[in-house]
Amino acid sequence: MKDMTPDDISGEYREHMFSYHDGTQRKVLFTNTETQLPEGRLIVSRTDLDGIITDVNHSFVEMSAYHKDELIGQPHYILRHPDMPAAAFGDLWGTVQQRNKWYGYVKNLRKDGGFYWVYATVIANIRNGDITGFTSVRRRASRTKISEAETLYQTL
């Protein structure tokens, strides 16, 4: 996966080097600019068993600031923000692989370095008894819950 480049970033930014669970490394650039998910919208995506994005809806594309063809085929961690603790994602994968529903407040990273908070739910897609992929649905979160999540994530 390509590093983020300053050409795509709006405003002042900081850098962070991620080392993902699959051995990939990526430099991300992030700013303090927040974009709010408009009321009434849902962000929907599907991944395969390895977390590779197979489908996204219009709201996903719009909020991520990527083009759809830049997203399909990429790992879902393309959206991971440096402020999100790795433990939250470990919990997510452990939960859905056991066929349980995962809920949580997530700060996502946009292509332009900005961020957006969502309340996310992820479930396994079970077909004929087997897990064939995962569906994630994200919705607008309350500011109170976001503040609580920010405080908690700083401790993890």
């Binding site: 849902l42 219009h58 529903k101 897609n125 077909r127 109170t144 819950k145």
Partner: protein, 248 residues
């Protein structure tokens, strides 16, 4: 042998005659005897489903989950260009301009349509509202929700968007939507039960060609549908997964 057909009770009462006309057309098209049974509430219909009394249904997304996953129903078709969206509305004189201005103790007027209620409760989350800090009055029809708002007996009302749009102009002038869902992938589905599964292809092809037939086109018009389009198993499964993520 007569098969029982029903439709989700959230339909607009103006279209009741349209569904009876559809049923007449449909029996001829697939050469089966079909009885259209209409229920007054989602709960009554759900009991009939639980008792295996239904073999063909135009189901709301919430019930489609149970029908496909637990009862072995097969998706056949959905109305083109119709998605299930919800509206939260207020009296037009209400000071509330958006969801985040709502506070604990908000009075809600709602029908028992589970999909609309679920979508609207999700849209209240940014205000920190849920079933524990709101007061809900359940009504049998959307027009009664409008009346609750007009009489200030409720602060907000939950509507299926299509039904809201079909309220009279006079009523709509006295209401104001504060939020509309934009989900785009949740639909009512026409499903066939296991006893009619062998007729799925016949039913599907009859429905898909309906708009090309002059009588069929007239029937569609009476339902306010443009045409039917096919729904395959995976599309329905995807919608059901999505509904599952929204149900807690």
């Amino acid at each position: 042998m007569t098969h029982n057909f029903t439709i989700s009770p959230d339909f607009n009462p103006d279209h009741i005659s349209g569904w009876y006309i559809f049923n007449t057309w449909f029996q001829r098209a697939i050469n089966e005897q079909i009885h259209l049974e209409l229920y007054n509430s989602a709960n009554e219909q759900r009991k009939a489903i639980a008792d295996d009394q239904i073999e063909l249904i135009y189901a709301n997304p919430y019930d489609a989950t149970v029908l496909v996953r637990d009862k072995g129903f097969i998706p056949v078709a959905r109305a083109d260009n119709k998605t299930d969206e919800a509206i939260i509305a207020v009296n037009h004189e209400s000071p509330i301009l958006n969801v985040e201005q709502l506070t604990d103790g908000t009075r809600i007027s709602s029908t028992d349509d589970p999909d609309v209620r679920m979508m609207c409760m999700i849209m209240l989350e940014p205000a920190g509202l849920d079933k524990n800090n709101t007061i809900t009055t359940q009504r049998d029809a959307y027009i009664l929700i409008a009346k609750d708002l007009l009489k200030n007996d409720a602060d907000i009302g939950f509507f299926l968007e299509e039904t809201y749009n079909e309220l009279s102009d006079m009523t709509k002038k006295q209401l104001r939507p504060i939020v509309r869902s934009q989900i785009h992938v949740i639909h009512h589905l026409l499903l066939v039960g296991p006893k009619l599964a062998h007729k799925k292809n016949d039913i599907q092809s009859s429905l898909l060609s309906m708009a090309e037939d002059s009588k069929g086109a007239g029937v569609l018009k009476s339902l306010n549908f443009e045409r039917w389009i096919a729904v395959e198993q995976e599309e329905a499964e995807f919608m059901i997964d999505l509904m599952d993520t929204l149900t807690e």
